[in-house]
Symmetry: C2
Subunit: 188 residues, 2 copies
DNA sequence: TTCATTTTTTAACATTTGTAAAAAAATGGC
DNA sequence: GCCATTTTTTTACAAATGTTAAAAAATGAA
């Protein structure tokens, strides 16, 4: 539970009382590989913190899936779309490994935000930090070729490439698996 | 001021008292075309609401600029990066037309968030909504060809294409201006 | 209007990426 | 270890996009 507390406070330092309110709503669960945490078309009812494992968010295309996010140890997982809009989302999220998570019901989280200003600001900061992470990723893709994006990934998250199959990574980078193979062949 | 109040309440409905606190900190200003609201490398000290005009956010590349966001009437403008991290940002934001804005000092906004839970939740909701807007844009780009992205832009924001020069729009779509010209030629 | 400047389009060729199919390599259950 | 299945790489060709340069069109100031 220690890494969870560290992560929570790194987003926005909470007073001990506020932290306790939040922790009291979070429950540890183990879930198997391939478990779907959030299903497109359904409302996501929980958010998760990844203690151990990998998650993958994707959308269904005409004849393929588009992977647009990976979550690793220390990340929060939630369907932004359905978490924020309270509407069925377009994205699914599944586990790529047997995982250990802390779950919090969306309902509880929303209630805490309305009751406690410390937690409301924590929730604000969480969204803001996710926003700039996504913006950096968005801009990075406008700037860089697929090859450069792969090199960056290799540098910043080498374990990600070892633990996730390349088809998903290709999709994440916005290229086909054939192109990713070519890129990898060139680098060697 | 009416459209400003409408916009604020559409993000998250505020109690009249909270709304007043926020409005008291916002001041109407007129600024000319080409005015740089936020300069890369500096800390953005204000956020803005666009009453009239257009803004464009961009980064400097090696030998070009990458445009990654446009703001129109009814949008909020702020350098996420420097607004959130309180650090010099990588992005610049400039006006593409003579504009009328409402300005709020970052300092005042941060203070309000810490003092008033209603406004803290408003700020949370603002970040969350920006987050899903960006996510939708991000996913859309993974799915669609440049041609489809342009068609979508033409459908959803036709005035954007009339008011903004095509070089910026090409960059926003992630293609060269030559490619955008070809796409436009095909559609006709 | 006229002229200089900026913006947009077009053309020709090079490079990158996609598609489809097959081969090679890795994985997992028995 | 063996075999079926899945994943990754390779190949050949097609399509899309980039690069450079020039032409055409639009814009704005005198």
């Amino acid at each position: 539970m220690d890494e969870l507390i560290k992560k929570i406070n790194s987003i926005y330092p909470l007073k001990p009382d506020s932290l306790k309110l939040l922790l009291d709503e979070m429950h540890k669960i183990g879930l198997p590989k391939n478990k779907v945490l959030v299903e497109a078309g359904q409302i996501g009812r929980s958010a998760y913190f990844i203690k151990q494992g990998i998650a993958r968010a994707y959308c269904e295309g005409k004849d393929n899936q588009i992977t647009f996010w990976f979550g690793l140890e220390g990340d929060f997982v939630f369907s932004y779309n359905s978490y924020i809009n309270r509407q069925p989302g377009y994205e699914s999220i599944e586990l790529l490994e047997n995982s250990i998570l802390y779950e919090i019901k969306d309902e509880a989280l929303q209630r805490l935000f309305l009751e406690n200003i410390d937690l409301a600001n924590w929730g604000r900061k969480l969204a803001e930090l996710e926003l700039i992470k996504l913006e950096e990723r968005y801009i990075s893709r406008l700037f860089k070729s697929a090859s450069e994006c792969y090199a960056e990934l290799l540098k910043n998250s080498p374990n990600l490439i070892q633990r996730i199959q390349l088809g998903y990574i290709a999709s994440y980078l916005g290229v086909t698996q054939v192109t990713l193979s070519r890129i990898r062949a060139e680098i060697k």
